[in-house]
């Protein structure tokens, strides 16, 4: 709860900062507008202040939760809100302010502590104030959970907030664009500070644009661990203290074993380096090919260093005996959804290398078929030094069904090979140096179908106070993986300009 209060507090601060900056920028923009009459006319880079508002609801489900070692419910719901404001500071300068709040509830992350009343319906009453998600009143009989059941632990919900401030300056001849940005993001176990700069050069009668962009993200974990591992390490393996003191540990036959003779994680070392730094360099080239076609190429080079594994995610080894807490009757059905009352104690958290080099290369090709139809195509090849190669193909076909309405049918196909450190539940060996059972790093392919509709108010005739409506859109997408994960997302967006 303390983390959520911090997140709400941070959200308030970000929104207040954004509002303050918007007011300052508005004053600055109006000041510049009044000076405009004395200078030589040139078309402004941005004529009016523009405001984009976007909200979305996302829901997913699947059977391969990483928090519970590659099996278990992946149910997650997320509601998000974003506001982006672009403010012309002068004929040449634009300030962009962007804020996002995203609130989720997740069965998967709730199972960081699966023993928080998952089956018994008890509340998570973490009374000792250490915010460890532990239910301090739990009795032995009530201590049961399952990877297939959402627990009521505090980690079942969280708020992610982010803010981004960007500034761009365009030269008088409109052929050079400089930009800089700074951003911040926070969630209960993770925070990020980022900054970057960009430059774009247009030439060949503005048919060609070459861009370069660099970004640095300095991220920090506030690690949360699976309850059994956190408690084991915290109490130095003393099963008479903390979470384990009144809990029976069962072997795979359902026989109660003493702590000292039974389960223990293979390592007492948790996160050593709480930093995760990302350095990205992006090159882009855009080219007009004809009066109806244009293309752009993107090549990124992303280097990541630090703790790249997720400390919440459990791993189970095939060469280690299995131990459980809960109802022994459910042990034979552990990997099936009929298991509602027993949970297997983790052998370790996932371990991954402390560096990663990603090289994605993408291409967009847009073709204006006629005044009713446009083809928007995207392809990306991705490779990294963890062994993942992937291909992404995306096509969207905006169809103008009237002067004001456009529909957006789309299809996206994605495929990737598995990271060399991935193996399924109970398939890793404890002798391996790196291991994960996160299915986002497995071999899979997915297909996504989407449909959107947008209303365009061509002359912003519809007004709300001083806001003139530019467009309003509604989008829906459905995606399904061949591993079973599927998600739906619906977004509602609107764009205004200040007259």
């Amino acid at each position: 709860m303390e983390n959520q209060e911090v997140a709400v507090d941070v959200t308030k601060r970000i929104l207040l900062t954004i509002a303050l900056l918007a007011i300052i920028a508005l004053g600055f923009a109006q000041g510049n507008a009044s000076d405009k009459t004395s200078s030589v006319y040139k078309k402004r880079v941005l004529e009016n202040i523009e405001i984009d508002i976007l909200s979305s609801y996302y829901t997913q489900d699947g059977d391969n939760a990483a928090v519970t070692g590659g099996i278990g419910t992946e149910k997650l719901d997320d509601t998000a809100f974003n506001i982006s404001i672009a403010i012309p500071l002068s004929d040449d300068d634009v300030l962009s302010i962007d804020g996002t709040v995203s609130a989720y509830t997740s069965a998967s992350s709730s199972n960081l502590n699966p023993f928080s009343g998952a089956s018994s319906g008890e509340d998570d009453d973490d009374k000792d104030g250490d915010d460890d998600d532990d239910d301090d009143d739990y009795s032995t009989s009530a201590t049961r959970g399952s990877p297939w059941v959402e627990s009521s632990g505090a980690s079942r919900e969280d708020v992610w907030v982010s803010g981004n401030l960007a500034y761009s300056h365009t030269s008088d001849d409109r052929n050079n664009i400089w930009g800089a940005n700074v951003n911040f993001a926070n969630e209960y176990d993770y925070s990020s500070l980022g900054f970057g700069a960009s430059f774009a050069k247009l030439f060949n009668e503005q048919n060609t644009e070459l861009g370069i962009k660099g970004n640095v993200y300095l991220d920090t974990w506030r690690p949360e661990y699976p309850t059994e591992i956190a408690e084991y390490v915290h109490y130095n393996g003393n099963f008479s203290a903390g979470f384990f003191q009144d809990v029976d540990i069962l072997d795979s036959n359902g026989i109660v074993v003493s702590g000292a003779d039974g389960w223990k994680p293979i390592s007492n070392t948790l996160i050593k380096d709480k930093a995760r730094d990302s350095y990205s360099l992006s090159l882009s080239l855009s080219q007009m090919l004809s009066m109806n076609a244009q293309v752009s190429l993107f090549v990124d080079l992303v280097m990541q260093k630090g703790w790249l594994a997720n400390p919440m995610q459990r791993v189970y080894f095939q060469d280690k005996d299995n131990f459980f807490i809960g109802n022994a009757a459910d042990i034979p059905n552990y990997t099936t959804t009929s298991n509602r009352e027993v949970f297997q104690l983790a052998d370790d958290i996932e371990r991954l290398p402390d560096n990663r080099l990603k090289t994605p290369m993408g291409m967009r090709f847009n073709y204006f078929v006629n005044e009713f139809v446009v083809l928007r195509n995207y392809y990306r090849y991705y490779t990294d030094d963890w062994g993942i190669d992937s291909h992404t193909a995306d096509i969207e076909v905006p169809i103008k069904i009237s002067q004001s309405f456009t529909v957006y049918p789309s299809f996206r196909y994605y495929t990737q090979t598995q990271a060399e450190y991935f193996a399924d539940y109970e398939e890793h060996l404890s002798t391996e140096e790196f291991y994960t059972s996160d299915y986002d790093l497995s071999k899979f392919n997915s297909s996504q179908f989407g449909l959107g509709i947008q209303y365009n108010d061509l002359f912003s005739k519809t007004n709300f106070w001083m806001l003139g409506l530019k467009n309003i859109n509604l989008n829906y997408s459905y995606s399904k993986r061949n591993t079973g994960l599927e998600y739906h997302i619906v977004s509602l967006g609107t764009k205004f300009m200040i007259k």
Binding site: S192, E205, V216, S282, Q294, F368, V374, S390
Partner: protein, 74 residues
């Protein structure tokens, strides 16, 4: 890995040389290219969809947006 990156860079240079030979489109001929749906970037309406993909897939980047950092995702 190095060979793959080298191949990507070589392909990029080849395409760049190919594109630079294209005939220039004059300003007055750009009306179709100026259609909002012809923008060479993702629609703002897809912002959260892309964010979900960044979380749920091993690959990210090369779409003009964020390519790493800022979240506890892959």
């Amino acid at each position: 890995m190095k060979n793959k990156i080298l191949s990507l860079v070589l392909v990029s240079i080849f395409i760049l040389l190919l594109l630079s030979s294209c005939t220039a489109v004059k300003s007055y001929q750009k009306i179709n290219l100026s259609d909002p749906d012809m923008e060479l970037s993702e629609r703002h309406a897809k912002k959260f969809e892309t964010a979900a993909q960044v979380y749920r897939e091993g690959a990210s980047g090369a779409n003009g947006g964020k390519s790493g950092g800022g979240c506890g995702c892959n």
